[in-house]
Symmetry: D2
Subunit: 162 residues, 4 copies
Amino acid sequence: MVNKVILVGNVGKDPEVRYFDNDQAVANFPLATTERGFKTRDGQEVPDRTEWHNIVAWRGLAKIAESYIKKGTQLYVEGRIRTRSYDDANGVKKYMTEIYADTINLLGRRNSGDNDQATRADQPMQHASLNQQSAAQNNLSNSSDQGSFNAGDSGPEDDLPF
Amino acid sequence: MVNKVILVGNVGKDPEVRYFDNDQAVANFPLATTERGFKTRDGQEVPDRTEWHNIVAWRGLAKIAESYIKKGTQLYVEGRIRTRSYDDANGVKKYMTEIYADTINLLGRRNSGDNDQATRADQPMQHASLNQQSAAQNNLSNSSDQGSFNAGDSGPEDDLPF
Amino acid sequence: MVNKVILVGNVGKDPEVRYFDNDQAVANFPLATTERGFKTRDGQEVPDRTEWHNIVAWRGLAKIAESYIKKGTQLYVEGRIRTRSYDDANGVKKYMTEIYADTINLLGRRNSGDNDQATRADQPMQHASLNQQSAAQNNLSNSSDQGSFNAGDSGPEDDLPF
Amino acid sequence: MVNKVILVGNVGKDPEVRYFDNDQAVANFPLATTERGFKTRDGQEVPDRTEWHNIVAWRGLAKIAESYIKKGTQLYVEGRIRTRSYDDANGVKKYMTEIYADTINLLGRRNSGDNDQATRADQPMQHASLNQQSAAQNNLSNSSDQGSFNAGDSGPEDDLPF
DNA sequence: TTTT
DNA sequence: TTTT
């Protein structure tokens, strides 16, 4: 009943964005979360461990991803886990686990400091929050996130292949 | 940019539901989460500690709360923190922290198993998930929650006092 | 930097628990989360969708899993995503995504099991919360969860294969 | 049974850190999360809304807060809600809701500081993750967070006033 | 393949 | 009292 993922990490590659006939879009990109290593009690070294998450962002979030997310960007991503199967080139069934993003926040765009907000024209998305949820469910939203870039503007949501 | 609360606990009293002229509704009820006590290293006893959360559910969630939530119900609540001020009977300014629910799940309605789902007519809400989000924000929703009772059916959301 | 998963769902099969020489244990079991289907605006039916999560619980949590979790049990699981690779019987590299549990809560008054017993003296674990975290990291814990069954009692944690 | 808060926001003032006889420390600071305003369907303007959270960080996290967190710092905070009562100067009982931090992550590439330096040798804490949990509960921890600054180094945890 |  |  609850399938929720919360990630804070860095984008590994520029998003790949595909557009569909019906004006829909989907973006895919990898996000790294690194778990710091440590020493065990008996002195063994456990190294850092990086987990790569396959992020999938539909519709409005896809377009935002295309515009504002790139290799190295630090993100907050809230979404859910989806495992899908596909047949590889040899007809072998493969499984892939992805994170379907519901909300994306751009982090750390050089805010900080007590001033330091100099030349920002190039950074219109600082701290922006992107919230995507399916109007198809007729949900209401009192999202806590900054909503300047939520997916609601992206047109019909009816015939999505998922 | 992110203000998220996740609670699993038990309802302390039947919800109080108020209706407004514009067909809006709001439900209020207390939810308890208990933190188990423990013994410190030097033998001190730290007792159990119960935290009471003031849950506020608007619109569709309010109506669902009225129908399905009562004293003792175990719930999953996802929402956000809101502190509001008000003047008490003596004109003294008071502050109250509440949890605005975005999603509510009824837990433990004897579901389980692939069997054991005998006499269920009386339990139409098993594992139901209630998802409320403001259509006013034109958000899309691909909610991961079971949506049979989301708030989207509750009519206009335009002139809410919050 | 943050890799957090929160699940509420039902256990699909009794846990498989393996013990190691050094008194360590690990439990594996599948957990289902079901996303309710809906109708799109243009009348298409999107069916329910069940996601199966491979839960991995180490040490104390494994032992608790063995004792209290079985097919049908409704659980709250908090953990993190781990994808690991292995070679299948044909020497083909495969990937598997698992959820490493950090906290497990048994949900429901009369949770779990195909038996679903009546009065509760025999069910000391109702609503229990299991919290597992590696002492190897010398962490402190002020866990918000009921801690009656946390993993701290399970002995040395030094030479774990992960 | 679950009382979890996840916040991403900006620190409003430099932390106040108090030390106790037993080498314990506690830090307090406000954290702002801003919910973006929006227009309702009928054209009403709902303004931005900033929620201020009172963050409380004990022990190791307190010391880290003192060193690395200041006004303006963007943080990820994971913790739990605690409401406590106290008598004000006039003997009137007051209530205050606080967030007890269990994990803190410094966000942003070039976070914190009024200087905002270029190359990073002087900023060993960038993206660091601070994890605090009570050893008094004998918990294990396989924290997903970068653990370079968890609270485990801070000495005896036995006689804490909470 | 990111980041520190 | 932060940030955009």
